[in-house]
Amino acid sequence: MKKVVLVLVTLLISLWADTLWLDEAKKKKCCEVKQGSVPMKELSVKSGNLQENKKLKNLSGSVLYIRDMDGKIEEHNLSGSKITFTPQYKGNYHLFLKHQEVVDGVLNVQLSTHRLYNKEGNLSCSWTKEVRGKTSDSRYLSEPLSQLPFQLMMEKTIHKHHVNCCLYVGDIIPLKVYYKGELLKDVPVDVELESGWKNTIKPNDKGMMMVEVPKSTYEQEKGDKKRSEKLLVSATYDVNESGVYDGKSYTSVHYAMSIPLSFGDTPLEYESKTLAFATVIGVMLVFSLGLYYNRRRKRKTPKEIYFDEE
């Protein structure tokens, strides 16, 4: 048993090397934004683990699916080293990368998804959306995307806090893995932090995996609300299936999917609930006692023997 786990782990470690993930380029300074113009979004594909952070030079053969907040899906065939596109609307876009290649008889299907939030927008197209006010967060897929044979999916995150735009330490991310729309109940998920912390989570009997966003490891940076840290969630799956992909034949397929996330520190990290409740109770006590005595003092209402609320 122990041995099996060990083998599994080593196997997984060997696989990290070829994890791909989408990485959004640092957004431009607001001040450079020209009036009316909508900034172009730029992304690159990284490989290896978070620390290595190698940039993939050639994306030819990769496909990018872009789902906008209305669920419309566009397909782009990629080439060159970076991905660019110009979102029209303010709001969330979901990108799905699909990169396939045959390496010594194994078809590697590299998948990655990334949510991209567009702050700016083209007023002429999106004023209706503005009027509507897009409050429902569309970070999560409702059902597996048909274009992806293998998919690691995030259910709606269980928040310990209010803001559902971003992840914070302590949030719990429920994950599921699908193969051709079928739920796989035995595929574990790997979690990796920029800091190098790693972990593997096994699914429960319902095939659900719960990843709690770990506490920050950067002591010195505590309290900086702007700080955000990368988190990579990935899963792999091998199928004995032979076929031919652009001339090369393969005997087995190796699927890998990653979800790059970034999270920040949360007030909850420093919170004191007990003290809070104490304060509330205390205030209530003081206030009501104050009221009581104040009334006692200037009660002119007569003795109860003449009045009776009943």
Binding site: K119, K225, A276
Partner: protein
Amino acid sequence: MTKNKFSLRRAVNNMNLVRFRFWFQIVAFALIVYGGYIGLDLGDKLPTFACVFNSEGTGGKCYVGELQHDLKHPLEGFVGFAGYAFLISLGMFAVWFWALNKGWCGFVCPLGTMQDWLTMVREKTKIRYSEYSWANRGKIKSIKYILLILLLLLPVMIANSVFGLPKLPNGLSMPFCDICPGRMMIPAFTGDFNQFYIDFSSKTDIVMTTIGMIMTGLFLVGSFIKKRFFCYFCPMAALQYVFSKPALLKLYKDGSKCTKCGDCYRACDMDILEIADDVTSKNLVTEDCTLCLKCVAACPEDGCLEANFMGATIFESTKEGFLVRMAMDQNKENHAH
């Protein structure tokens, strides 16, 4: 009064406002606080406390939150899309507001509803309500405007240095939300008490969250002992009042029919003296009015007070209605034997 034939208008004017409002508020409360669970989403520009911190349940979001968020950007950003977006949001807020005018406070606002529930509890326990002295009542009025100005100014001062002042710490990004009892109370109704915390991550956070806790304590006791305790200080009310004039729903008064008996003033949760003593102006939606229409229900004069929607009277005071509501329309004892 003497005509006995049934008419809808008559039925409406004779309605038991207390009960109607109770159920209306419950429905509204359910939609605002739990609507999210059934996928209800009224957008993020609601002129009422649909709390954004109630992330799962909320059926829409409070504009004051959005407003603070929007203002926390460098001013330059407001030229261009962001600027338009901001104006659209504000406009949208106004549109929502005009539909019900202050009725949002009296019939929809979950925080208001909670206060009314607390009032009911007090009434059951037969504890006397408190009143402000008229002098203090006058003084209080300004507080909500001060709060409004602060919640507008602070976020701006985070992202920009106003008059060369140093930028404020990020902890003040949502100054009002920090101290708004809604943040604690509304999620609490979905079983989420996580908002009860004091944030030690920075000095400002400690201060703001502590004030928040204090406010919650005050809210609970205050609105138990004083009807609509929080509404006296509500900056949302102040913001709304700016847009109140063109609203569709109105509270009109016919001064010539008013006997200044003060029954309306007695009924008013917000102790608005004008409702009884102002016999000249027609539109009686004052800054503190929550348009709860209790005054209309308590007015014994025919057609002296009325709720008016786009020029059409929807609910007006009548002698008969008054008598029905006060259970004075028949002699109980005589009917007994």
